[in-house]
Amino acid sequence: MERYTLECQHVSMSFPGVKALNNVDFTVRTGEIHALVGANGAGKSTLMKVLAGANPGYTGDLFLNGKKISIRNPFAAKHAGVQIVFQEVDTALIPSLSVAENIMLNDMIMNMGHQQLVHWSRIRSEAQKVLDRLNIQLDVRKKVADLSLAQKQMVLIARAIQSSCKFLLLDEPTAPLSDNETKDLFNLVLTLKRTEDIAIIFITHRIYEVLKICESYTAMRNGEIVGNFPITNDTSVKEIVEQMLGRSFEESFSKTPVEIGEKVFEVNHLTEKENKVRDVSLYVRKGEVVGIAGLVGAGKSELCKTIFGALKKKEGSIIYKGKELTIRTPSDAVKQNIALVPEERRKEGVLVQESVDFNLSASCLNDFCYFSFVNKKKITRNAQMFIDKLGIKTPSTSQKTAFLSGGNQQKVVIGKWLSAHCSVYIFDEPTKGVDVGAKKEIFKLINNIAAEGNSVLYATCENSEILAITDRIYVMFGGEIMAELETKKTNDKEIMYYSVGGRKPAGQQ
């Protein structure tokens, strides 16, 4: 069989303010299963999108079998034989149509020509043929909406194979799957390699999966390729993690020590309704900053939101100072003095259309009211106090929050909770999209919040931040807590080891 090679040379890709890919050389050949690994923001997805034609602004050259090609749109990518299955399978499927139509979608859109009628029996039989080839048991007449997530993924893979595919890119395919479903997927991938003789590129955070199924891997770091390595029986998770991380980060922030008191906030066996968080138990002491580490999609945000009542919990209890709290809605949580600084600041944190002073009082407007009538003066005074205290840069208290910078908006969100006198603060990626200076100030704020005797939970995928600000760390993976670490006694590599699903060595609990 003929071998195909897809080669990137000196590929770079910039987004406003960031260089997502920097002079990347990457080669893949048909007939191999190749893994692409790297921490969050290393550029894996960006590179895949370049190959799939979803990033038309790249610079550099692409070669197919040594011949220069240009992939500026998804159509060109398909023409070159590159098919991608994105992590969010639902974005690529049409739930109201049957399995057969979804598998044959490319064919129905691109190869119909002047033909006006749909040839149903042909569509179904061709779709069935593809499924047979892949050894997938699935009724082609079934509606996609009725399928499980794993089955939907198979439909997408079948669609990719149906239209001449030479390079199949799988972006985090196993993240939402159960162990059994993962095994099925691996079997499918092995079948594909054997019978179709195509290249499969696997992007994953689950390093132990890489060891199981891939023959070689490419590690990426900060938009650059670290290197290409074969996978042998001697390759270990630890070795791959080291390639992903390289030198350790140095954080300029130094935490001022805070006296840590007794246990005040406890979460026991918390499980989210859709199992996005499973059996999580943790506690926070007075004055303590506890980190929740883990990669994107590990369930950190979901954990924060479940505690706060924004996601429904299935089981578990939340205890503050020995008393069990009933939290069904965020409104309940706020009444119990729990605060959440959410990840999506503009969507969930601030009311961008409202003024700074209203935002700073939104969670405790009652305190500024006289028989339900808002006392504007009190609100302004409160706002002025927090503007001074937190160093929020705004021309006036009545400025619309939309016009503030990201860091200042985040300070407004934090100020909102400070004026509500909360005692448990949950931060979910509070430094996302803020510049270095503002980041440092936010750290200082969090440090002060803890020093005043409050309890803080700090969720982030940036390990350097976790190491700088916290006292203790829980590492999450797949919705569960994998490890509890003492910040002073741990390091970046250990956190990463657990973040990618590494297990504790036997006998060390």
Partner: protein, 333 residues
Amino acid sequence: MERTIDSQNFNSRTVFQFLLNWAAVLALLVCVLIFTTMLGKAFFSGPNLVNILRSMAITTIFAIAATVTMAPDGFDMSSCTLASFSAYIFVSMYLWYGMSLGMAIIVCILFTMVFYLVTLFLILVCKIPDMLATCALMFIHQGLGLWYTGGGAVSAGMSLPNGNPPARRGLSDAFMSIGQAPMIIIIMLACVAVAHVFLTYTKHGRYLYAMGGNRTAAKLSGINVTKYRFLAGMITAIFIAIGAIVVASRNTAAQIVGCDNYLMPSLAAVFVGLSVGGAKKPNAFGTLIGAGLVSVLENGLMMCSVPYYILPAVKGAVLTLALIAAYASKKEY
């Protein structure tokens, strides 16, 4: 919407923004100016001003109801059909069952609030989008209302659907005065004032606007969004009932689908009012301006002997222009 203030474009932009913010007021002034030059004293006179205020009163009251619903980003297409139903109840309580005027008013308001629970049940419990739920309810209101009256209007001198004679023969002066100047104008201004104070100066009003701006953020700030959507609905129901009472009094009867036609001008009034003073959200004062614009246009065009059957097109054009102003400047997210 993210805009940074750029010093170079600052002046032209502020002028443009100013014009946009006061476009509705300017349009109102321009209309008055044009009609005055064309019609002279016949248009620009005390009696005609009262005329205009009287004709805009009903539109304004329904528009205030819509304003309160739309503040937390809700929507109600069935407000005016419900008002027709409430008007049947109001007049029938007075004529058929001989209730006092005050009692009939109270029953009418309570009925509207209770019936509005159906609307809120569909929206809050069944989670149907506001637009679709109220669209379905329009037909339910119309059908149930006519079933109640036996298919006809409720007016003086007519017997009950079961053939019994009504308890009262006619309407009292007090009943009729509700729909006449100055009472009708006072009611309108009172509704605007109450809605303005509620939305601008109470924490409940601020919460409703917070929800309208960003429901997720409002919820995560600890605002009980379901409770406040319910509250907005109940207040809307009260304004709908007031509208129904005024319409019935003005028509001296509860006519078949007597209020249904006020939906479109009242929505137009709210959308025209959105941008007034740069509020960028449904607000009571803007709504009053919007209703004024619609009524001045209607009044002036009538006087220019434009046939009455073309007027819906004019009102529709105002609504369309207001919608363009509200949506065309929106940036895609």
